[in-house]
């Protein structure tokens, strides 16, 4: 309750006390600009971090629960081997769903490399069976052994070979996103602290006059801290809005866009940027307060 009343008193301010700090100057513009720029970058760091998180989850989950069986056999044996594979899969524990890809689906997979007029029926293209695991998963070695005995042209690819480096890469990306947020937050703190220190240096004469006419340290510090906290909040709010607008206006890359499509925020994640302006204000509050008290201690 006491904290809340302190915050409310801080926000409501004192019109007279506010007047003692010069209203403009390069340090005021510097604080606003620095906060806006840091908030703008923070929105992208946030979006980057969330996107890498989603990407890591998507790669990990999707690839972990799927496998492919590739059947390479002479044309006259293809149907028999496909039937054998389907029957094996139907009786394999851990297989949730197994489905041979249709001709059109295989054509779609190959189209990016061979063009739209691919004569599938005249090419020795292997048949593909998509296997979806249930939560328990299947025994890959056991399945391979059964396939080798009953459908010798069938090869199980459980994606382990290339899923592992992808998941590792996605995890690294997620870490990078987190590092980006930490770096930008730290940088925001440094820049706002520098701006606050510059503001206090530029207003050294004001501080001296106030001390000489009987102002207490808390009064002087409060006047500067409130001014620069509100400036940081305002600048960060503008930067956040611009950053969010920029994200919103990112061109849609469609289903083929991969990572770029996922860079924006989704659903409730749009609430995350709302944290940035209060956080910038908190950083400014702490930085200016520390700088003000340090500056004041140097004066009698």
């Amino acid at each position: 309750m006491s904290l809340l009343s302190n915050i409310l008193r801080f926000l409501s301010g004192d019109a007279q006390a506010d007047r003692v700090v010069p209203p403009t100057g390069f340090t005021a513009r510097l604080t606003v600009f620095a906060s806006a720029a840091m908030a703008f970058l923070a929105v992208f760091a946030l979006a980057f971090s969330l996107a890498t998180g989603r990407l890591a989850d998507r790669w990990g989950d999707a690839l972990a629960k799927s496998a492919t069986i590739r059947i390479s056999a002479p044309a006259d044996q293809m149907d028999a081997q496909l039937l054998a594979v389907t029957e094996i899969l139907a009786t394999t524990p851990g297989v949730k769903e197994a489905r041979p890809l249709g001709e059109n689906e295989q054509r779609a997979l190959l189209e990016p490399w061979f063009g739209p007029d691919l004569p599938l029926d005249r090419l020795p293209i292997p048949r593909l069976v998509e296997v979806i695991e249930d939560d328990e998963g299947f025994d890959a070695d056991g399945l391979r052994a059964r396939l080798a005995g009953e459908a010798p042209g069938a090869i199980l690819d459980d994606h382990a070979r290339w899923r592992e480096p992808l998941v590792k890469a996605a995890t690294r990306l997620r870490s990078l996103g987190f590092v980006a947020i930490v770096l930008i937050t730290t940088l925001a703190g440094v820049v706002i602290t520098l701006a606050a220190s510059a503001a206090l240096s530029a207003n050294e004469q004001v501080i001296r006059v106030l001390r000489l006419i009987g102002a207490r340290d808390s009064y002087i510090a409060h006047a500067f801290v409130r001014r620069y906290t509100l400036r940081a909040f305002g600048g960060a709010a503008v930067g956040t809005i611009l950053g969010a607008l920029a994200l919103f206006m990112l061109p849609s890359a469609g289903a083929e866009g991969g990572f770029l499509t996922g860079l924006g925020l989704q659903g409730w994640q749009w609430l995350w940027p709302l944290v940035i302006p209060p956080f910038a204000a908190l950083v400014a509050f702490l930085a200016t307060r520390q700088a003000a008290l340090t500056t004041l201690q140097e004066k009698r």
């Binding site: 003692v20 001296r208 006059v209 106030l210 009987g214 009698r300």
Partner: protein, 224 residues
Amino acid sequence: MIELEQVAYGYGTGTLLSDVTMSLAQGSFHFLTGPSGAGKTTLMKLCYGELVAEQGSVALFGQNVREMQRDDVAEMRRRIGVVHQDCQFLDHLSLAENIMLPLTVSGRSLHDPSELQELLAWVGLQQQANAKPPELSGGERQRAALARAVIMSPDVILADEPTGNVDWDMSVRLLQLLVELNRMGKTVMIATHDMNLIRSAKSQVQARVLRISNHQVTAAGANL
């Protein structure tokens, strides 16, 4: 009210003031004189706690400056009105706001808003109430500084070269204002190197003259 006991102060390795012992009694009027660079401003700063003596002690209203907490120093300054040589205004505030500043920072206000008009009239600045400090002449700034120094009704007025940048007529006017304050019971000390000003005060007030010479303060009443 202000007592200095064997005070010494210097800048770097040089000694500016040495073994200074003096006191300002309630209701007294002092001139502090001496050549430029003798240490008049330094002594004034010691008297309102902007500087702390390297040796000896300075007591303001019975309290040793060295032992004061920072909030105590602020509180003490509300009882001492200082007219600085360079006035020290906040240029973004109007003259009236600057004069009211000591009240503002102490969270107080005038009992009656007309008191400000009376104060402005006393220093002859009614017309300049809304002007910004850079728009004022040297004499107007000095009178405004005096108004700001007295708005808290302090016990002591310290004026550091208040007539340094004004003509003779304005010097006499400022001196009259300070004498009026002394007659109201305020303790006044004026630092000046203008001996004509000191002589002109002789007929108006019983003033004591302190001279800084060879780092020490001596009474110079006989030379007035």
